[in-house]
Symmetry: C2
Amino acid sequence: MTVQKRRTQDQRSAETRKLLLAATIQSLMEVGYANTSTAGIARRAGVSRGAQTHHYPGKMDLIVAATEEMFAIFSDGLEALAAELRAGRLDYDGFFEAVWDNVLKGDWFYSSLEIIVAARGDEELRRHLAPLILELHEKFEATWSRSFVATAPGLVSARVAMNLVMNVFRGMAVQAVLRRDERYFREMLQALKTVIAVHVRPVEPGK
Amino acid sequence: MTVQKRRTQDQRSAETRKLLLAATIQSLMEVGYANTSTAGIARRAGVSRGAQTHHYPGKMDLIVAATEEMFAIFSDGLEALAAELRAGRLDYDGFFEAVWDNVLKGDWFYSSLEIIVAARGDEELRRHLAPLILELHEKFEATWSRSFVATAPGLVSARVAMNLVMNVFRGMAVQAVLRRDERYFREMLQALKTVIAVHVRPVEPGK
DNA sequence: TGTTAAAAACCGACCGAACTGTTTGTTAAT
DNA sequence: ATTAACAAACAGTTCGGTCGGTTTTTAACA
């Protein structure tokens, strides 16, 4: 006989939603969008299907809410690393290594890739996600421009350099799906750092 | 009353298969993997479902065969552009523009992205695709190393530079799904050319 | 060369499984 | 008592795979 804790309605809602969103992200990460079903999410979350439909009536609601959560995790994570860099507790190389590690090892990147790709074939999903992506990019750029300065802004601005880096990471992660080769990725990462270092450097710590 | 052309069995097979593979690629491009069904493919191809199952019994057979076709189109296209570059009929800038144009405008890139992402959640599909990807990469590297030389091979080799470029393109294409901004992409492309030009240059035409 | 049996290509109906959304009923909180 | 949270069964659809039957081509043979 388990003891029933008394929880407020808000607590019950919040906990159930949290479970559902975490299960959604996990499902996208593990089995991909094509194999992610609302029933499967409810099962993973340990929540009845009725509870799931109550909080998120349609599959789209679940996906969009999970995406918001992922993007928040992502931008918070990047900002935390950038703060370490600005504080001088992480150097240029270490920062890149840490970001890449976050991309490849964290749940959120591949989950968001699944969703973005799915959105390509789903007009409604795309409409919901587009503003979220724009907001995410703005946060990225804000974080990045607080942390790096361009050596020759007229040629390659800090903002553009950042987008190059993020795009390389995106591309590498896609490639990693079918080509899991640690040595190759270390080589790529090293080259990326070299190539970007020409155009951008961290702000002076403490400045 | 249409006149029935007499065709050999080989011709009939080849034509039907061609229609089915083209329809598969088109379907992946237009509606994505999640919304691509075997019945839909047969409909697009103007082929009965029976004929489809005869030539490609399972969905996987269809997908794998279509992937082989796409990869062939892709590597042939890149080699053709590189040949133009080597012949001096295309300069460094023009080559990059043309490759990017191929990526964004052609059917094959997003189709292959759909398949790669789907493969992440499907062990069997991944097993079938992995060797195809390796073969494709080898062709890329062969084409590229015939066409470019590194300025400082010890620092960033021609091979690694190419992979950086391809990864940036991959990343940009993914980004383009939710952020269709022509100006932004031109800016990125310009920066990419600038950044890579430091480490790599085309072989001398005619050499 | 004309005939015909075998093989290949093609057709479309059918089946079970899985999924999303809906609905009706129950329990817990206010 | 009223409302929100939770539970579970149900309905309609779609999908991938299977299968018996038909048409076209091939090839053996008289």
